[in-house]
């Protein structure tokens, strides 16, 4: 008997608990005396996890399969970088501006694709993302093109960045949790399952789709900006379609439509890709095959498999 655990509110709360548990374990990892290189790899996987969480809000919870998460991260990074490069503005202005500009562009992209769904929505967002990347790449006078732009750093300590990113991941999870636990979360899920049906129940779908676009792009923009301060460089490569592909694989492998899935997926995919790099440059082949296997056989991803195991061990047996 599946019982009350299948209620959305209960599923989400359990999800958040596991997310926090995972973050608690991640917080202990630096006790293993990691090299700066390994710390850097972990920090970059957190960056991807943050974008993956933002994209998951839009695609996993709202059913809007955007192909522009990496482009929004690039835009966030460039906003802070351009404000610093041209106007000498500090990150205290740059970071909020990055979030605001990403939110505004999220609103514009969201408005553009409102009437679209499925492959049409994906292709339009992909086209808009490519336009943004090519414009940045070709505007040498303003952006220095493919050379990229320097960004001031928030701190020199990698350990500091490790815990900063981890704290922000927790903050993002709490934000998404609060949103999804509220009535608005229910509306987003209804739109995901049947937008027309949601509208016929009285849900103003335009408003909530736009809201999801804005929040998702803000999270991506924020992630991109922080990543820029960590690497002290932003470049058009941040917005490459391959980056979006990696983000989507992280969510699909980790578990779409969950809080913990994108974090699990980001850690496994990014750390796995670093490991596979030493084996030979076969990481994209491995991830492509993994995505196919998960999409075909395990649609709920690792998080779904983990939940099945959890309920088998701790819940169903007792009933």
């Amino acid at each position: 008997m599946i019982g009350e655990r299948n209620l959305w509110a209960n599923k989400l709360t359990l999800d958040l608990k596991f997310f926090m548990l995972l973050c608690g374990l991640i917080a202990l990892v630096p006790l293993l005396e990691l090299t700066p290189y390994t710390l850097g790899i972990l920090i970059i996987s957190f960056y991807f996890a943050l974008i993956a969480m933002g994209w998951n809000l839009l695609a996993g919870f709202t059913g809007q399969f955007s192909m522009a998460p990496a482009a929004f991260a690039m835009i966030g990074g460039y906003t802070a970088a351009l404000l610093n490069y041209h106007f000498g503005l500090s990150l205290w202005v740059g970071i909020p501006s990055a979030v605001l500009v990403s939110a505004l562009l999220g609103f514009l992209v969201g408005s553009t694709v409102l009437g679209l769904k499925g492959p049409y929505l994906s292709l339009t967002t992909l086209a808009l993302a490519e336009v943004a990347r090519v414009v940045i790449s070709n505007s040498h006078d303003y952006t220095r093109g493919d050379q990229g732009l320097n960004v001031p750093t928030l701190m020199q300590s990698r350990m500091g960045y490790y815990y900063l990113f981890l704290g922000i991941l927790i903050g993002a999870a709490l934000l998404i949790y609060s949103l999804m636990r509220s009535r608005y979360g229910g509306f987003l899920l209804a739109i995901r399952d049947d937008a027309h049906g949601a509208q016929s129940r009285g849900i103003p779908i335009v408003k909530y789709k736009l809201m999801a676009f804005i929040v998702s792009s803000s999270i991506s923009g924020f992630a991109g900006c922080l990543y820029g301060t960590f690497t002290e460089l932003v470049s058009p490569e941040m917005g490459l379609i391959q980056q979006t592909g990696i983000i989507i694989s992280m969510v699909v492998i980790g578990g779409i439509g969950s809080l913990t899935g994108p974090l699990m997926g980001a850690l496994i995919v990014y750390l796995g890709s670093e490991w596979l790099r030493s084996v030979g440059n076969i990481q994209m082949i491995v991830f492509a095959l993994t995505v196919i296997i998960f999409a075909r056989f395990f649609r709920t991803g690792l998080w779904g498999l983990f939940l099945k195991l959890y309920f088998y061990l701790f819940s169903d047996k007792k009933r």
């Binding site: 009535r183 899920l189 209804a190 399952d193 049906g197 509208q199 016929s200 129940r201 009285g202 849900i203």
Partner: protein, 241 residues
Amino acid sequence: MTHPIIKVDSISKRFGGNQAVDRVSIDIPQGSILGLIGPNGSGKTTVLNMLSGELTPDEGSIFLGDMNITGESPSRLVQLGVTRMFQMTKVFVRLSAIDNLLIAGQALGLNQAECHERADQLIKELTLQPVQYLDAGQLSGGQKKLLEFGMCFMVPPKVALLDEPFAAVHPIMRQTMSQFIKDRHQKGQTFLLVSHDMPIIKELCEESVCMNAGKIIAKGKTKQVLDTAEVIEAYLGGDHV
């Protein structure tokens, strides 16, 4: 004559060269169960689509009480009290049955406590207790129909537009649904019922409207409408008249 809660004034809708609905006027009296019948392709669902805001009439007007609601969006119309059950069931398949009801209540401004209270009541009334925690996608076709039916009544609407609610539904569930309609009707609820199921139309609807080829061919007391030669011809063909 009871004041109509919905007044449809000469609406028309054309799709390319096909005149789907041609100057149709219908009054739905407050507190009535009005049947809307007609053979396939007669324009019933198109009329319903215009009433629920899915389509905007090319001509004519629709009034809810004194308010002109022609061309309002579906979500606005639900907020105004015009709810719709679809022929092709629309439930949120990856959410539990009870979550479906909660979302329908929240969309209409109920708070959490009210939502839970009404959802529990509807689950009980519609005998969905055994499946209330299952994802809606796992329910049988009939259970999905019952669930969507329940979602229409999380907040009692001014008018419930029901498009083939009994199609492909098990007789016991059909009984549950028709009893529910009768009970609500006793309390003054207004329904527009589209169905091919003549026994149920006879049982529930005192008055009916019959459409064919986009036009109204008969209206009035259900029994009289069903006995009209034009209606019999429309359903069974000329040889049976």
